[in-house]
Amino acid sequence: MDDRGESYVTGLALKGVSKRFGGTLVLDEVSLEVGADEFLVVLGPSGCGKSTLLRAIAGLESIDSGAIEIDGRRVDHLPPGKRGVAMVFQGYALYPHMSVRENIAFGLANIGVARQEIERRIAEVARMLEIEALLGRVPSELSGGQRQRVAIGRAIVKDPKVFMFDEPLSNLDAALRSRTRQEIANLHRRIKKTMVFVTHDQIEAMTLADRIVVMNQRRIEQIGTPGDIYSHPATLFVATFVGSPSMNILPVTRVPGGGALQRVRLGDGTEMNTRVPAGALPHDGTLRLGVRPEAVRLHPPADGRAAAVVEFVEFMGDKSFVYLSFGGEDRIVAAESASFAGRPGDSVGMEFDPAAAHLFDAEGRNHRRSS
């Protein structure tokens, strides 16, 4: 979490923020710092509290305890318009009866920006987003992608300290989503402001983020770079939520006396080495082994190897995902080359890359060697 360098300047800080709706806790002591030019993605399943977090920063929801600071100034008592934030909504929330020009100008006119200055800034934003030709239209005359641009333009024109995006790509089709993703990444490179982007889509999170915050059940599970989150998931939740297909999780038992590194036994009795120091693990309680599909290797069946049976093969073009049954109850996915020739019913031998194996304790904490 502290790979942020010396030039790091905090743009947005949350300190122990909690929020309840009636008796239901929706944010539980959330603390977070975002750099002044950082692109932070908040990733989590529906109902994890990520949208509430965003709305609390924007001032659209009050908070019950804790503090929110933007540029070192406490803002949680200020109304939304005074916080220096701009938001791109999931449904864009363009004013339907106003033209694109009026939509973009609305926020500036409300704070008394001079007419000429408004015109100058609209022209600049329109050029940047290539929406000059749309300025006279109303939102109902725009396509989904065009509305998206106008919504972004409405945010940029206010020159806020913090940009917020609430699942802004979820209403676009796949091709447009990928293009818009790149445009948002470009935009961030150009304007270098704090951006907080909420999504449940891990591809958006991986491709856009400087750092990802993974949330689950009202709390932050892990904060880290996309590479960190993928390769060093801190918890079982992060391990299974990020990655597609998700990480294989198998119950294992300790093999005592294996030396400094923990040796484990799989459900079918096969043993394997890990790179997790035995001393770092709790002495009792269940252990679960986590292996990403690409760390599973398939071979012809042989003694000493775990034996699995191919259930079906998903051909992806550049590779194949092989779904296997193993030791009776366990299911495993392996990422194999596209030329994998196995067929459903075939027996195969299976090996896990020890360097890429994670061990999770009973609480779901990861004890994989951290380097």
């Binding site: 924007a58 939304p80 701009a86 938001m87 909504f89 929330a93 363009l94 004013y95 106003m98």
Partner: protein, 279 residues
């Protein structure tokens, strides 16, 4: 076709047929006992010369001017004030709508008790501050406004509910975007809320124009059109001609005139609103 057939039959039998037969009837000298003689547009020529009828047209237009803008604006105001989830607003919404379920007889009885000079509510208030009672219903200038106030009280529920329904259709995200855009309460009202419910305002105005041109029960019970026809509306005129003087051909002609007036007024309002939307 089979699904719209029942509606089509009812529509034809109860609306289209009476409309056409009414037009046909208005071209006859006819009474309720069967005698009928074709006289062309004679009934309409009579209407133009009939001072009582012209008076009733003026009365009705005045009444519509008194009630329709007020119903629309007050309905909108109430809806804006009560468009929230608090228990108090829920109770008040119920109260304001409750008068709409009363029959015209009850409503007018209540308002007679409020307005009569002899021991009425208003008269008692005036007496308490040392003023003489005002004879609302027997004063030629006050009778129609008194009927209008009664009508406002009776009819405010529908416009309020229509506006409430429209307000709840405005996406919450728009208000949130406006809050982030630094829009204050008035700016939000005029730039977000009102433009979003403009269609409903047109619908409310058109519905109320159609309803209030048909003023009948309140005037019939409270003033009988008096004093000196000062509160006589067109429908009461039609009723008196048709069912008290049995001159139904003439009454039918007056009905056709009313039909045309309502159609013209509603169309004017509708197209005016549509024209504004385009600019």
């Amino acid at each position: 076709m089979i699904f719209v057939a029942p509606y089509l039959i009812v529509f034809t039998v109860l609306l289209v047929y009476p409309l056409i037969s009414g037009m046909w009837l208005s071209l006859h000298k006819a009474d309720l006992f069967g005698g009928s003689q074709f006289i062309g547009i004679e009934n309409y020529l009579r209407l133009i010369r009939d001072e009582v009828f012209l008076q009733s047209v003026r009365n009705t237009c005045y009444f519509v001017l008194l009630t329709v803008p007020a119903l629309t604006l007050i309905g909108l105001g109430l809806a804006l004030a009560l468009n929230n989830t608090s228990r108090r607003s829920a109770i008040l919404r119920g109260l304001f709508f409750s008068s709409s379920v009363l029959s015209v007889t009850i409503v007018t009885l209540i308002w007679r008790m409020v307005l009569i000079p002899d021991g009425g509510l208003v008269a008692n208030f005036l007496a308490a501050i040392g003023l003489p009672p005002i004879p609302f219903l027997s004063n030629a200038r006050l009778a129609l406004p008194a009927v209008a106030i009664t009508t406002l009280w009776w009819c405010i529920g529908l416009p309020m509910m229509l506006f409430l329904a429209a307000l709840q259709q405005v996406p919450a995200e728009l208000y949130e975007a406006a809050a982030l855009d630094n829009a204050g309460p008035w700016r939000t009202l005029f730039s977000i809320t009102l433009p979003s419910i403009r269609r409903t305002a047109v619908v409310v105005a058109v519905i109320e124009i159609i309803l209030q041109f048909q003023l009948f029960g309140q005037a019939q019970i409270m003033t009988l059109g008096g004093p000196d026809n000062a509160s006589l509306p067109i429908v009461l005129f039609i009723y008196q001609i048709g069912f008290q003087r049995w001159d139904i051909g003439y009454a039918a002609a007056a009905s056709e005139v009313l039909f045309c007036i309502i159609l013209a007024a509603a169309m004017t309002q509708f197209f005016a609103a549509r024209g504004r939307r385009k600019t």
